[in-house]
Symmetry: C2
Subunit: 199 residues, 2 copies
Amino acid sequence: MSRMKILDAAVATKLKFVTLFSVSYLDRKAKTRDWHMVSRCETPKCVTGNIQQPDATIIVPYHREQQKLVVIKEFRVPVGDYMFGFPAGLIDPGEDMAITAGRELHEETGLELARVYRHSPAVFSSAGITDEAISMVFAEVTGTPSIRNTSDSEDIDIFLMDRKEISELLKRSDIAFGARAWLAMDAFVRMGSSYFTGE
Amino acid sequence: MSRMKILDAAVATKLKFVTLFSVSYLDRKAKTRDWHMVSRCETPKCVTGNIQQPDATIIVPYHREQQKLVVIKEFRVPVGDYMFGFPAGLIDPGEDMAITAGRELHEETGLELARVYRHSPAVFSSAGITDEAISMVFAEVTGTPSIRNTSDSEDIDIFLMDRKEISELLKRSDIAFGARAWLAMDAFVRMGSSYFTGE
């Protein structure tokens, strides 16, 4: 048995924000196989090898003054419904992820990023289907929520919720959650604010 | 401003395991726009409305006897490299998620599922790009790891790691992680095994 190896990635379909690729690779018996995946990049990461750089940030915004977690309820087209999650945004080329986080936080919630407590490395959203990698940014935020900066294709409500309110939210079966947001909310419920700060 | 609304999903490209869709929707000013996404389903969830049913499970396997978390290092084609994460698998139609979890756990690690401590609802992997939803299954596992049941297109190493070893693993910058796995490993490091059991 040898190790697996990427041979080539062919564009199946290129659309504006996403490209579907057919990646050929050698399996452990050196047989050529295909894997289908989507990417936000021109060339997928399995070819470029650029797997340390996140495409996007997801901000876990802790409003320390109010001792509340900031949660957004946002219409997501692929879900066809509202989903509870956190502010997130694509990192512009060369941009520091704290800058992206601050900008997206402000655009989506009107809040200000005060400081980054800690962040994850580039971690893969769902490595079976996409090479998309994000960084989770645990941050202290300040200010008053406002949705005046959202665009027409964004439909967002903002909630500031304490540990007990998040616990109640997670018990509801009639609403949808993002996976990473669910995991972070669940950890907050079990651990309190030390989860964000790392203290 | 009205609420956003899905109009229709057109197949852009259909491949064996994934379909690329162009979804038309009305934005908050009732302007028609398009969103591009991939789905594992024939018809995406934004059209069927079937958002409570997960496509797949991700098992967070706690080997209680050894007091260790089971982590797999697996070659992922979209990443083009090995990635640290957890066993996972697609749920067959009508299948109970504990059955899927037990089967995939056994196929990928040789271990047995002893019991499910707790699980998430269907949560969305990355709702900007796909309607894929998974359930996180926190489970007690038993037995001895073995990779004899993996297929040629799977290249997997299995590690049983205690809290301190996971903490060291997360500090490494030369390896890739799945996002959901990173979040669960990070919570384990901060909280210990009560994270899995919910006790």
